[in-house]
Subunit: 338 residues, 2 copies
């Protein structure tokens, strides 16, 4: 949520010379996306017929995004957008390139996506999010390039071992939660429907207009993994509060709406509690890492405790691995009614 | 340059209910203005004929702006805008109010001003800035309300005394510069043309389109004071670099363009070196204060040293107080040619 690299009008002017969008008439650093520097840019093209005014997001990729991955991310955004999925997408420069450079950092011009993210989504919005995520999975299914999940179970084991003592310093209960979660990874599924996943489908990355899904942003954690794992990430973010308490009506709305567009297989439902625990573990670990590394830096950190509590909740549910609860329709039910 | 108060779509929706602008279709925190939280807001009014899309800046006033001063600031913006001076201006709510509240903080909806600020202005832009500042002074001259300058000579004396030992810890040379500047204040002019001044007419607060002045923002240091003092603040910001070195062609462009719109009186020219020293002292002191108070906080500080060097430069010029150099046209010349 910060502008890391300050850029000036000259930088924008120089950058836009490579695009057919006219000249910049406004630009402002914006607080959007966690990892990159983003700028709101308005352009005016007096040579177009009719004259054209457009608005864009100019993104500068900071250190957490590997420039080698950019073609994969930007290509995925274009791929799903071409299939009708609403999302921000990169604009090609005159020579066809999707990225340029500003101050030596890779930069892309991204379409401006109208809509608002909601801090406290309601059930209508949760259902919209579920539907949209399923539509994203279907639209992305034939994206030909692959990108491994750098933040998957292998990484969790390594990070968990490395951060265990730090975790127990921050909260005495966290080491035990971590141990139980890591032990459960032995049962991690090996064969479920897979494909490109968003991997960060949190409410801040989903825009609405009038309670209707208006588009998704921030695809820079996207990778190939189990589709139901992506849904589990979303469930943790949309249907559990910061205290780790699940909201049954929100989860029902999210899961049922997803299921209507891409029906979940029995194997996915059975594995869901475990996937949800893994999804919570992933954010617990990365937040723990960020919490550790940036003390005193200029970034406001997210609380690892929120995901420790969500993880503990899923661990309780996942105790009987391979026999996750399901409702009459076979959708993970989670027994959140008691 | 930061969003201090995070707000959500619900807050914006609730706030906009008091305005005739339709509903929000986009909002993003932006890095604009030093002291307040600013948000880019797009609205869509489907009940208007024709349907209307607009964009605004929503400003939340943080602690450095006294809510009691807001009617003065916002009234000034409307006053000069009504006279044709291009600037951001507050939009009135349905009941006529220029401010509302979000999260208990005063908030205003401000018109979106197209244009770009330039990090390294050229002489054409410096001349435009000089012209615009003079036009602002003329447009504001009959604004009926008064607001004393809380950061004037009286405050400098108090701050200088309080911060002297801290200054000398940061740089051994600063205490002497401070002493010389404070001694010079005995000669501060008592009678020069006065009126509302912007008091922060830095390049970041001035927008351009195609090298032409496109509007001014951030009036939250505005107050009543000597008009030539406002010009001196601008001179320090536009015509001297961070090392304190004056740029003769930039100062000539700024001062001559100002002079063409509002001719400077001989008394203003004579006092100019002293006014410029005072203007440098003002920013040296506030930067010194901010530097001291916020170590470890989340704000990137501006370097007091830049203004210590500018101040030292003016002190050398102002040695013969009351007989500042002038060129053949009577415009302060500054002897920057040697």
């Amino acid at each position: 949520m910060a502008v890391y690299t300050p850029i000036g009008a000259d930088d924008v002017r120089e950058f836009l010379r490579h695009y057919d969008v006219g000249r910049a008439t406004s630009f402002k650093g914006i607080a959007e996306g966690v990892e990159n520097s983003n700028f709101y840019v308005e352009t005016f093209d007096e040579t177009a017929i009719p004259v054209s005014r457009q608005r864009f997001i100019l993104t500068l990729y900071e250190k957490r995004v590997d420039p080698a991955d950019l073609p994969w991310f930007l290509g995925l955004m274009r791929h799903v957008a071409a299939k009708g999925f609403r999302c921000a997408e990169p604009v090609a420069a005159r020579d066809g390139a999707l990225t340029g450079a500003i101050h030596g950092k890779p930069a892309a011009l991204i379409t401006f996506l109208p809509g608002l993210s909601v801090a406290r989504p309601n059930v209508v919005e949760a259902a919209e999010a579920g539907r949209a995520l399923a539509e994203f999975h279907l639209a992305a299914a034939d994206y030909p390039l692959k990108r491994a999940n750098a933040l998957g179970p292998m990484a969790w084991r390594e990070m968990g071992t490395r951060l265990r003592s730090k975790a127990s310093v921050l909260d005495p209960g966290w080491a035990e939660i971590l141990d139980r979660a890591l032990a459960l990874l032995a049962h991690w599924p090996t064969c479920l429907p897979a494909g490109p996943i968003h991997a960060d489908f949190f409410p801040d990355n989903v825009f609405f207009l009038n309670n209707t899904f208006a588009g998704a942003i921030d695809f820079y954690f996207a990778c190939n993994d189990f589709l139901a794992y992506d849904l589990a990430i979303a469930l943790n973010a949309w249907a559990m509060d910061a205290s780790g308490k699940p909201d049954r009506s929100m989860s029902a709305a999210l899961l049922a709406a997803y299921h209507r567009v891409r029906p979940l297989l029995p194997a996915e439902c059975a594995a869901f509690p475990l996937l949800a625990a893994g999804a919570a573990l992933r954010f617990f670990l990365t937040r723990l890492m960020d919490w550790q590394e940036s003390q005193g830096a200029l970034v406001r950190e997210k609380d690892p405790g929120e995901y420790a509590r969500k993880l503990a909740c899923h661990l309780a549910i996942a105790r009987g691995v391979g026999s996750g609860p399901a409702d009459a329709n076979g959708i993970p039910d989670y027994g959140w009614n008691g």
